[in-house]
Symmetry: C2
Subunit: 309 residues, 2 copies
């Protein structure tokens, strides 16, 4: 195992800024990624909260190139590359590996529901065999509330046995701590790095031997989340976790992606940040006011947010 490449810490599915006509806004994307890196957050670009499945393959390829040309560090990137069609998953994954990305976050094919473990095994195996690059590090993306296609312990075991090098870990966005505990107990000792799917389970995951979290709210509240990762063995760790939970609780009162974008629009002073692609809808004026008041009550801050405008 190339230990040097093992990722850990706090990652964020980077929000994708759009122009009012729904086209991507690469300049703001670069600014946001730079800000996240400065805050100590790694770049899981093209995750669920990135509206990645609302982006075309070409848009994702172009945005990744834009980041790299802007000097953002590939060794801190874990782009999402799993889509429904294997040829496109292969294309996106191959490109990420060739560009030097430290890992990829891979959804299973998610259109067909109720598919078998054998079918999902073949899907991942087909991608790994086609990419055929020893630098490939896949983080399996388990998010049944959205994908509706779970990555079960049985599937992880089969994949790890067949591809111990390529299968690097998991993002567990089940929202079910029992599942994360199972993954930690069964697979983390084999070098399968478990990331909690949000900061809600960051402390518990670290105490259970996991390596960090990949969390939507890393886009807006990175400092305190990164601080918990750095100080999880300190006496105040539970208090820090409670603070994170309070801030996340505010965002969860709204559709998360529009709410995070509204928070950045507010703090950066650039309302263009509010735009989301259909089928999502931006917060309305009343929701934005309510969000800002609630964030004020939990002492929400975004240091240097003007740089995101």
């Amino acid at each position: 195992m190339a230990t040097a490449q093992r990722l850990q810490g706090v990652f964020s599915p980077v929000l994708t800024p759009f122009n009012p006509d729904y086209s991507p806004a690469p300049d703001r994307f670069v600014k946001h990624c730079r800000w996240l890196i400065e805050q100590g957050v790694g770049l899981s670009v093209f995750g669920t909260n990135s509206e990645a499945n609302s982006l075309s393959v070409k848009e994702k390829c172009d945005l990744l190139d834009t980041l790299l040309e802007a000097g953002l560090p590939a060794e801190r990137m874990m782009p999402g590359t799993g889509v429904c069609a294997l040829p496109e998953t292969i294309e996106l994954t191959r490109r990420a590996v060739q560009r030097g990305c430290a890992g990829v976050l891979m959804l299973p094919p998610f259109y067909y529901k109720g598919v078998s473990e054998e079918g999902l095994y073949r899907a991942f195996a087909t991608v790994i065999d086609a990419v055929a690059d020893e630098r490939l590090r896949i983080y399996l993306y388990h998010i049944p509330p959205v994908s509706q296609v779970p990555i079960t312990p049985g599937l992880v075991a089969r994949l790890l046995k067949a591809y111990p090098r390529a299968i690097a870990g998991m993002k567990d966005s089940s929202g079910d701590w029992k599942n994360t505990a199972t993954m930690l107990a069964e697979f983390q000792p084999q070098g399968f790095d478990v990331f909690a799917g949000s900061e809600t389970f960051l402390l518990a995951t670290l105490r259970g031997g996991g390596v960090g979290c990949i969390t939507a709210t890393g886009n807006v509240n990175p400092g305190p989340i990164v601080a918990l990762h750095r100080h999880w063995q300190d006496a105040d760790a539970d208090a820090r976790q409670a603070g994170l939970d309070a801030t996340r609780g505010v965002f969860q009162q709204f559709p998360m992606i529009p709410a995070m974008k509204a928070a950045i629009a507010w703090k950066s002073g650039n309302d263009a940040w509010c735009t989301v692609r259909p089928p999502l809808v931006e917060l309305n004026a009343e929701q934005r006011t309510t969000l800002q008041a609630a964030l004020g009550r939990v002492g929400f801050e975004m240091p240097n947010a003007a740089s995101l405008a």
Copy 2:
């Protein structure tokens, strides 16, 4: 309204044949489409049962071109063009319209769940506005058991009001007759053509004023389904419907796509037909034997199936 372009009758989401390495097999695709047209079945290529969401955008474009170059009739085609990312839905839809396809079958963006009517309205509106071609005829694809994103009567009403020309009808694959009855009662009188999502509700749909069905089993049992559409006002219509139900019931005992492909492999004598793309898995030998025996008991036939080899 360009009445001449209104589609009706029996359509099939055309099975996509693959080679053993999972690449598409265009020659067999052409043969299968030709056979379907000869049987009186229209071509809803790139539907759910076509494994369309396992095909890349490029593969779909290439396969559509292959069919047209082979002389298959665009006026009998209703390709599926709805994917998760609007730029790709626009690309596929624009291409289908420019190639003269009589209609397109459009899924809503299906990754994000629990999205609002407003968000889905914007998604379809964005596609219609971007394609900006008066030849566009969209059949909305309502298949909540798979997409998990329903197309509600409220959404249909909004779309029909805003785009009375582009919104041509629906494929209702809810499996819920009450929903089909609602669509027929509320929208068919406005020229919104309702297709049942399978032959199970073909007779009921025709009696309710609908125009036909778009059905997976049209791939393997086209003759009797087309015959019911032609003779639905005859005295033996209910008996014909019962016959269709018996044959469909056999396929439904298995995963439908692998079972239909296994039936074609059996009748055509070409086992390559069995191949499905991951995450689907082909029937095993025991399942194939069981399928063949059960099909034999209901008198299943595929006339001229050797032409599909």
